[in-house]
Structures are given as structure tokens and as C-alpha cells.
């Protein structure tokens, strides 16, 4: 199997602040990787970099076969990023938001209905403007977009945040299904046990670099690096 993500000594900056300070990471296609690390370790930056949103200053970065040093655009249509913000339009209804995102990404609009049902958004909530939703419900809308789009690479940034117990279980199930469908998933989460349970591998970040890596044997977290929280 090829590499979905191949980063070598990546440095990326925000102004003069190094977000990533020489990060190397290899993720194979179809793998589920759990990123962990303290706040500010560079998890979100890594996910944004893989989505082509953050320029690579030095090192090399290839995601889904696209060299991010020369082209940060082509990769965007193939990845699905669930960021801190959901990339939703407040004044549009749940269904409209999902439909717009799916059509913009040139995905199959036929998947929208199923995705809404999958996330429990097909009932009363369907026509409610996103502005009126709670944080957890907004997260569900963003997830529905991913489910409908079926990207090759899922980049989930704190996907558990704001979700209720059912939602978290639902999310875990989605990750498992995505993996089964051949997609690659990278998720950053502080829900260590939960995230590791669905992951093939745990990667610890700190100071904008990978500081630890281990397999999840039989889907059980193998803890490494005592400084990695």
C-alpha cells in the first residue's frame, strides 16, 4: 500500500512562529492514525498542512500524491477536514449547508440524504439555520458533509469535542466505516482511549514534531513517551 501522507522534516510558519519544527510522518493508505500531544503541540497545524492550507517552508510534504511544496490546491478536493470551526454558513439551513459543500466538492449529491440520516439530521433539524444549532449539532452537520463527500483522507481535529455520548460512539463508528471503505483517517483527539481504540497507530506530537510513535496492538493504545499526554 502506498503512502497517503509523507512528510519529511516539514517546517511551517505562522508569521515568525514555527507551527511545525521539522516534522516527519508517514501514513499509509487505509491507516487510522491518532495524533496526541499537549495543547499547541502542532496537531491542528499538521492537519491543516495536510489539507493544503498551510504553506511548507522547508522539508518535503506529499499528501495523496500531491507535492504540497509545488501545489497546495489539488489535494483540497480529496481531503475532508473537520476543523475547529465547521466551515458552515450560519444563515443557511442544515440541509442547504451540506448540499452546498457536497456540490462544491463535486461529490455525488445523492449521498446527502443518507448522510443526514446517518447523523440524525434528517428530521426536524433539516431546515433549521445552522446559527441556531448547538456546538455539538454543528459538529454533526460538518460530519455529515464528510460522510456525503467520502474523501480519500479524513482529517479530524478534535472530532469528539462537543459531541454527546451517542455522538462520540457514532463518530467512532464512522471512522471504522471510513477505514473499511479504504479511506485514510488522521484524527487529533484528547479522548485518548476512545481515539486509540479505533486507530492503528498513535503518534505523539510535541513542540511541532513527532516525538513518539507506537502501534495500537489489537486496537489497544500502546503508550509511549512519558512526556506525551
Amino acid at each position: 500500500m502506498g503512502a497517503a501522507i509523507s512528510l519529511r522534516e516539514c517546517v511551517s510558519l505562522s508569521g515568525r512562529f514555527p507551527l511545525l519544527a521539522g516534522l516527519s510522518l508517514e501514513v499509509r493508505e487505509g491507516e487510522v492514525v491518532h495524533l496526541r500531544g499537549p495543547n499547541g503541540a502542532g496537531k491542528s497545524s499538521l492537519l491543516r498542512l495536510c489539507a493544503g492550507l498551510v504553506p511548507v517552508v522547508s522539508g518535503s510534504a506529499v499528501v495523496l500524491g500531491h507535492d504540497l511544496r509545488t501545489d497546495r490546491h489539488s489535494v483540497r478536493r480529496e481531503v475532508g477536514l473537520l476543523g475547529h470551526s465547521g466551515f458552515l454558513y450560519d444563515d443557511l439551513s442544515v440541509e442547504r449547508n451540506v448540499r452546498f459543500a457536497v456540490r462544491a466538492a463535486r461529490a455525488d449529491p445523492g449521498q446527502v440524504e443518507g448522510a443526514l440520516r446517518r447523523l440524525g439530521l434528517d428530521g426536524r433539524l433539516r431546515h433549521v439555520p445552522v446559527a441556531r444549532l448547538s456546538a455539538g449539532q454543528r459538529r454533526r452537520v460538518s460530519l455529515a458533509v464528510l460522510v456525503a463527500r467520502r474523501p480519500r483522507l479524513w482529517l479530524l481535529d478534535e472530532p469528539h469535542a462537543g459531541l454527546d455520548q451517542d455522538g462520540r460512539a457514532e463518530l467512532d463508528q464512522l471512522v471504522v466505516e471510513a477505514r473499511a471503505a479504504g479511506s485514510t483517517v488522521v484524527l487529533a483527539s484528547h479522548e485518548l482511549e476512545r481515539a486509540s481504540a479505533v486507530s492503528d497507530r498513535v503518534v505523539g506530537l510535541a513542540g511541532g514534531r513527532v516525538v513518539a510513535a507506537s502501534l495500537c496492538e489489537g486496537r489497544v493504545a500502546g503508550e509511549v513517551g512519558s512526556d506525551v499526554a
Binding site: 510558519l13 515568525r16 516527519s24 513542540g207 514534531r209 516525538v211 510513535a213 509511549v224 513517551g225 512526556d227
Partner: protein
């Protein structure tokens, strides 16, 4: 002006000093010739002495914007893309804005006794005023934060947009004026004044002197921009080291090859068969 002229000294500094000296001598000579040696004009009297200042300033303004436009184009052109062009465009625009302001002020000072008004909606004047605001806007765009190359590209596009606007503004004001009311004033340069003899030489000298002054200002402004870029990069490796040090016990400094830190980390892994991210290469 070669964009390669660095922030550092060497021969560049010596050349620059000579350039500055020549410019200074030229300006002093222009002032001396213009204020004391040349005769007053038959029609304009002593006011003609502003002829040795205002047109040359306006001329520099055109050069400055021309160079800013050209270097913006050269930045956008993929084959010649280099941050040096962006610095040059920014430097030239800033100097250009200063000269545009001076064009307006000296023109106004000249206009008051000649035309009886500080300001007239003459096409050239109006265009110049709009030019001033347009390029102030361009300088503001340059201040928008962002990645260095992103800023450069954005600025170059803004310069292009502004430059495309200039002829449109000029022609529209020209039409607007000519349809509005006939011009009430004669052009003081071509209309009434006959330039000859010492006056011609002084005029020529003023153009040369102020062009030299422009070149000197441009070079220094460029150096300042290069220093600012250097400063932006300065301390980066220190910042990266600090960033790495956030990881705690992991060695952050040093010149270990790519992935060495991963090997180090993998050493602590209970399962020796662990597939580190760097494994399999």
C-alpha cells in the same frame, strides 16, 4: 537600480555614497542656479523659479511608479519571480508616494500665484491626487500580514490593479473636464514660458539631480526592506529550536539528520517491531 543591491555594504555602499553625494551636489547647484543665477521670466517673474523644482519632482513620480509597475510585473512573471522585485516595487512606490505628495504641494504653491487658486479640477491635477490615494492604498495593502511570498504576490496584483486604473482615471477626468467647463487657465510651462539659455540648463540639471536623489532614496529604501526581510528570517532557527524544546526531554538542538529524532523516540517504544513513521523507507 539592480534589485541585487543588498542590505550590506561592500562596493554597493561606496557607489551609493557617491550617488548620494552627486545628488546632493546636483540639488544644491540647482537651487543656486534656480534661485540666484537664472533670470526672472518675462511673464511669470520670479515664479518661474519653481520650474526648476516642480516638473522634476513630477518626473520622478512617473519614474517611481513606472519602476514599481515593472518590478511588480517581473515578480508576477514566473521566470523572474524573486522577492527582490517585490522589495523594489514596495520601495519605489513609497518613494513615489512621497514625490506625488510633493508634486501636489509644490504644484499648489505654484498654482496659487499663477492661477489664483490653490486647486483646480484640471485632469492632470485630479489624476495626480487620485494617484496619491491609490498608491497610499497600495502601501496599506503591503502592510496586510501574511506569509512573505503571499504578501509579495498580493502586493504585485494590487500594484497592477492600481496601474491599470491610472489611464482610465486620466481619460475619464479629461472627458469630464472638457465636457464640464472649458479650462480657465493656461499651462504655465508650455503656454507662456519660453525656456532658453541658462534656464534650460538649470531645468535639465534639476531633472538629473532629482533623478539621482530618487535613485539614492530608492536604494536606501530597498536596503531597509531587505533588512526587514532579513529580520523576519532572523531568529527563525532559534524559534524552531525553542519550538522543539517545548517537547521537553527530547533533544531539541543539534544537526541530527531527518528522522533521527524518530529513531530516538522509537528506542523507547516497548514493542521493538513498532512501525515508526519513518520506518519502511
Amino acid at each position: 537600480m539592480s534589485p541585487g543591491a543588498g542590505p550590506g555594504g561592500g562596493r554597493g555602499t561606496a557607489v551609493l555614497r557617491v550617488l548620494g553625494l552627486l545628488g546632493l551636489v546636483g540639488v544644491v547647484a540647482t537651487v543656486w542656479l534656480g534661485l540666484w543665477v537664472t533670470p526672472p521670466d518675462r511673464f511669470m517673474g520670479n515664479l518661474v523659479r519653481l520650474l526648476y523644482l516642480h516638473p522634476a519632482i513630477a518626473w520622478v513620480m512617473y519614474i517611481a511608479y513606472g519602476i514599481a509597475f515593472l518590478s511588480s510585473l517581473l515578480y508576477l512573471w514566473p521566470r523572474t519571480r524573486a522577492l527582490a522585485w517585490d522589495r523594489l516595487a514596495g520601495a519605489s512606490s513609497e518613494v513615489g508616494v512621497v514625490f506625488t505628495g510633493l508634486t501636489l504641494v509644490t504644484g499648489s504653491i505654484w498654482g496659487r500665484p499663477t492661477w489664483g487658486v490653490w486647486w483646480t479640477w484640471d485632469p492632470l491635477l485630479t489624476t495626480t491626487a487620485l494617484l496619491f490615494v491609490l498608491y497610499l492604498g497600495y502601501l496599506a495593502v503591503r502592510q496586510i500580514p501574511g506569509e512573505r511570498e503571499a504578501r509579495a504576490r498580493r502586493s504585485a496584483i494590487a500594484a497592477l490593479v492600481a496601474f491599470v486604473d491610472v489611464p482610465i482615471v486620466y481619460f475619464s477626468v479629461l472627458w469630464w473636464r472638457s465636457l464640464h467647463q472649458p479650462p480657465t487657465v493656461d499651462d504655465p510651462v508650455t503656454g507662456k514660458t519660453y525656456v532658453h539659455g541658462s534656464m534650460a540648463w538649470t531645468l535639465l540639471l534639476s531633472f538629473v539631480a532629482l533623478t539621482l536623489v530618487y535613485a539614492w532614496l530608492l536604494a536606501h529604501r530597498y536596503r531597509l526592506a531587505a533588512l526587514a526581510d532579513l529580520e523576519e528570517g532572523e531568529g527563525l532557527e532559534l524559534a524552531i529550536a525553542e519550538r522543539r524544546a517545548e517537547a521537553g526531554g527530547v533533544p531539541a538542538r543539534g544537526e541530527e539528520p531527518a528522522g533521527a529524532d524518530l529513531v530516538g523516540a522509537a528506542a523507547g517504544v516497548p514493542d521493538p517491531g513498532a512501525r515508526g513513521p519513518g520506518a519502511g523507507r
